[in-house]
């Protein structure tokens, strides 16, 4: 029996402001408990929220980056529920008038199994709204009590809600990754998933083709792409098994347990979702002028998709290379800086970054921002490959040295004597000697044993201590062996 999977995502991104959304308390991660919980964060009576311009600006950036309409007037609402990490008894959020309207994000999907080819898909974004984060509950300190740390309370969040446009775990993960790249790219969120800066809620339902939407269950708070895929796979199978064995799906909020790989329903109360939203009388409507929007638009960097398209059309890179180079802004910046004006070298530059640089970063467990060599160093080396100063094997040696000890390509080439011999006179002399010393093999070659060519190349390379310019050596050898 065929089943269709329907997935929508709600992503909470912590905005990278210095201060909280409604007060001037710091949002720095990792401070001692409650040292950044000011009077507003702990909801002392009489305090009033004052909206952070930096949070609004980041929301505008996101809207512009996803082609969404920015609401020139939006409203903050109270979402009422009781939980100790939310001391006001309500969360300030946005309800029917969010700051960012409908937008879209185009994603590249790599199917997880089989020989299926990667494909492109556009996921619609329903809306994005500003809200405040809650504090943290710390369990297991003393018997019968829960500790509350309100440092995180009031941290600005942009909740990004997608349409249920995804129909596989692969698509959901591709969307989440694209969003993760985008928010870091435009500098509105640090994307640190361990610290909870980027948290995903996944709504999953299944249905038979052509049928109306099935009942959805919401997997809460996924903070890794791997867990997201596992959780969706498990949940989809569970829903299909439940329906096929005659059961019904009930709307529920569920948690994924990474240790068992299973999902389970959270305890729910019938009233849990009656949040009694109403406009927060403490906050006036947020008005955003066209001038402000245009000013923010001017600060937006070239977006990943535009960059990808440009790398393909202007630099002649493959779509695959272009998508890898734009996986993060650091990677793209590194590529462009290393390449400089030498646009003709784009392919070789891309190969080095996607190949050696990425592999070495992986081996050392580093990311692009921690790369021990900078773009100028790599660019300097690429220049020396292009002008024939070093061979490919010489370049590898330069790269290894650069990585381990630092230094410019020119200094390393000089110190290690890696400059290849491009002096045709010197190569000719060397080839003449080899031909003279191996008369029998030369005869064999000339009588049709073409395979011996490699033997001569080997000898010549050895004689030049690997420094002969390979292309030149080939030409000269061919000419001389032809007699």
């Amino acid at each position: 029996m065929q089943w269709e999977i329907v997935i929508g995502l709600e992503v909470h991104t912590q905005l990278s402001t210095n201060t909280k959304i409604f007060s001037g308390a710091s949002t720095a991660f990792g401070a001692e408990p409650n040292t950044q919980a000011d009077a507003v964060s702990i909801a002392l009576p009489g305090v009033l929220p004052v909206l952070n311009k930096g949070a609004v600006e980041r929301a505008i950036k996101f809207g512009l980056a996803t082609g969404a309409r920015i609401a020139q007037r939006s409203v903050f609402a109270r979402k009422n529920y009781f939980y100790p990490d939310l001391p006001k008894g309500y969360q300030i959020s946005q309800f029917d008038l969010p700051v960012v309207g409908q937008g879209a994000l185009t994603i590249q999907v790599e199917p997880l199994s089989g020989n299926a080819k990667p494909y492109e898909k556009t996921v619609r974004i329903t809306r994005a709204h500003l809200e405040e984060d809650a504090g943290k509950s710390v369990h297991g300190n003393s018997q019968g009590v829960t500790g509350i740390d309100l440092n995180r309370a009031g941290t600005p969040l942009l909740e990004i809600v997608s349409e249920p446009d995804m129909c596989s775990a692969a698509e959901a993960v591709a969307y989440a990754k694209a969003l993760h790249t985008l928010v870091r790219w435009i500098g509105i969120c640090d994307g640190n998933m361990q610290e909870g800066s980027f948290r995903c809620d996944v709504n999953v339902s299944v249905r038979r083709p052509g049928e109306p939407l099935g009942t959805r269950r919401e997997i809460k708070n996924l903070n890794s792409f791997k867990f997201m895929q596992q959780a969706i796979d498990y949940e989809v199978q569970w829903q299909i098994d439940t329906i096929e064995s005659g059961g019904k799906i009930h709307q529920a909020t569920i948690l994924f347990n990474p240790d068992t790989g299973e999902t389970r329903a959270m305890r729910s109360k019938e009233d849990a979702h009656d949040y009694r939203y109403f406009p927060d009388p403490d906050l006036l409507p947020l008005e955003i002028s066209t001038e402000w929007i245009e000013q923010v638009r001017g600060t937006l960097p070239e977006l990943p998709q535009a960059k990808q398209a440009r790398y393909v059309s202007e630099l002649g890179l493959s779509a695959y290379d272009a998508s890898i180079l734009t996986a993060s802004r650091e990677m793209a910046d590194f590529f462009e800086e290393a390449l400089g004006d030498a646009t003709g070298q784009a392919k070789i530059c891309a190969n080095w970054i996607i190949g050696e640089v990425s592999a070495q970063l992986n081996r050392d467990g580093l990311d692009m921002t921690q790369c021990p060599i900078n773009a100028q160093q790599l660019g300097g080396m690429l220049t020396r490959i292009a002008d024939g100063t070093i061979s490919n094997s010489g370049a590898k040696e330069v790269f290894r040295t650069m990585w381990a000890e630092g230094g410019s390509a020119d200094a390393i080439i000089e110190a290690k004597g890696l400059k290849q011999v491009s002096d045709s006179g010197a190569i000719e002399a060397l080839v003449d000697e080899i031909i003279a010393a191996n008369a029998d093999k030369v005869t064999e070659y000339r009588s049709g044993k073409d395979k011996l060519f490699g033997f001569f190349v080997g000898l010549a390379m050895k004689a030049s201590k690997g420094k002969a310019n390979p292309a030149q050596l080939n030409d000269i050898l061919k000419k001389k062996l032809a007699g």
């Binding site: 402001t17 210095n18 201060t19 007060s23 001037g24 308390a25 710091s26 001692e32 408990p33 409650n34 040292t35 950044q36 919980a37 000011d38 009077a39 702990i42 002392l44 004052v50 909206l51 952070n52 311009k53 930096g54 949070a55 609004v56 007037r73 409203v75 009422n80 009781f82 939980y83 100790p84 029917d96 008038l97 509950s137 710390v138 369990h139 300190n141 003393s142 019968g144 009590v145 829960t146 500790g147 509350i148 740390d149 309100l150 948690l255 959270m266 305890r267 009233d271 009656d274 009694r276 939203y277 109403f278 406009p279 009388p281 906050l283 006036l284 409507p285 947020l286 008005e287």
Partner: protein, 117 residues
Amino acid sequence: MRPNKRFMIPYRARFDKALNPFMSLSPADVEKVARLARLAMTDQELRAARDQLNNIFGLIAEMQAVDTAGIEPMSHAQDVAQRLREDKVTETNQREAFQAIAPQVENGLYLVPQVIE
């Protein structure tokens, strides 16, 4: 008594009942609202609250009867926009002062009766 500001806000989703002047709150409605607000109320209090709330709804019904066609709804009683704050840290650590009035603290944490998910 001044009318509650909140009820002056046209907020469609919340006031379905208010839109219909013939509709009034049942005791069960009041009980539910009380439960959501964590208010323990006696039967007598529930009845009193129901009567008061129905009176408020009467007032809303009167307002709803006014022809507001073509008038932009307001989400605040004052027709002014939100002033924004620069993103600069202005608060200092006052944990000690705040925790001096908390019922129970430990290692900098506020302690509350155990919460289980």
